[in-house]
Symmetry: C2
Subunit: 210 residues, 2 copies
């Protein structure tokens, strides 16, 4: 079980500093969508250069031009790039073809996919590596959590890895562990904690028990 740290609201300089004491607890560093808007793919390049032992995910949330946009991320060292589950199958296929060419991985973000029972098997059949249940920040603010969606998704997944994101912290990690995801994505749960290093350690320890 891997811990993915999502960085959304830091600039590149801050991110490089804040990652230092957290790196030992983290498996994957996510350059989150707002971070991509802010700093572009240079963020992926510099994080990978400074922390070569960590995998980096570029949360580009690709919606079109799959092969081209995936290549932009892979060329600067991303191990994973995200594509949206709501997009066209052709776009997901383009991402998968580029990932196969470069020996990298595609994570499908299922944010705003209504019908998981239909879409999860369809997306899995396209050859993606990870499918992520994701309750968005705006949906979380309205009181939703990804726990139900993870339960639902687990019913429809065959062999693909599963990730889960959306307001997870050390207080709620055990609820998610019970559902055995492959990747747990935590962002503000760690970065906005009073003691981010302690929070990262607690979550990493919980994942090791799983």
């Amino acid at each position: 079980m891997k811990l993915q740290l999502a960085i959304d609201e830091l600039n590149l300089e801050e991110a490089l500093v804040q990652l230092e004491p957290l790196a030992e607890y983290v498996d994957i560093v996510e350059v989150g969508t707002p971070f991509v808007i802010d700093a572009g793919r240079e963020a992926v390049r510099q994080i990978k250069a400074k922390f070569p032992q960590l995998e980096v995910l570029c949360d580009a949330k690709i919606m079109d031009a799959g092969a081209y946009e995936a290549q932009l991320a892979f060329d600067v060292g991303a191990e994973y790039v995200t594509v949206l589950g709501v997009t066209d199958d052709l776009t997901i296929k383009g991402c998968v073809e580029e990932a196969t060419k470069q020996g990298r991985q595609i994570m499908v973000d299922m944010i705003c996919v209504d019908d998981l029972a239909t879409r999860v098997p369809a997306v899995e059949s396209l050859g993606v590596d990870v499918i992520a249940v994701h309750t968005g920040a705006d949906q979380q603010a309205a009181g939703r959590t990804p726990l139900e969606d993870l339960t639902e998704m687990k019913k429809h997944v065959k062999n693909v890895k599963v990730a889960v994101a959306g307001g997870i912290s050390s207080k709620t990690i055990n609820d998610y562990m019970a559902l055995n995801p492959d990747i747990v994505i935590v962002g503000s749960g760690i970065l906005n904690a009073e003691d981010p290093v302690k929070e990262a350690r607690l979550i990493a320890e919980a994942l090791k028990k799983g």
Copy 2:
């Protein structure tokens, strides 16, 4: 009727050079999604600084954290930012609130929205400024054009402005003009033309006749 030039596959240095002779024909410069992934919002800032007479659109294709991501684009001088029509209403509302606060505009990209008859009125009621019919690059490669979708969308729009994108060039511009869009978005049609300046001029002249 405005001409929006979409820059997708240039880096920032190339974009600033190639824009120079095109600027007189263009109303809105779009920092396209791959360009955002490549250069981040710095691209918006530098294009606006060099061409203050032009409006700049940041094609962030927002899917979550609407207010926060819209602010990232507006703070560097974007007049417009895009949000996806397939996302949650809460995210679109967040974008609209931020745009209202800053006196800027929200364009909704309807790429991969299946049911325009239902979604166009819903999106319009959220207070957005522009709704864009968009046939993605991957869909175009499969033979689709945005002409039918524009016809369909025009039936459901009340007061909001309409934009259209997807493989438009001086050869096809008159087909679109007949449907009276407010903004015509052209990317590779101009930038990959043998003579980009001539192509931009031809399209701008066609728009003036409309």
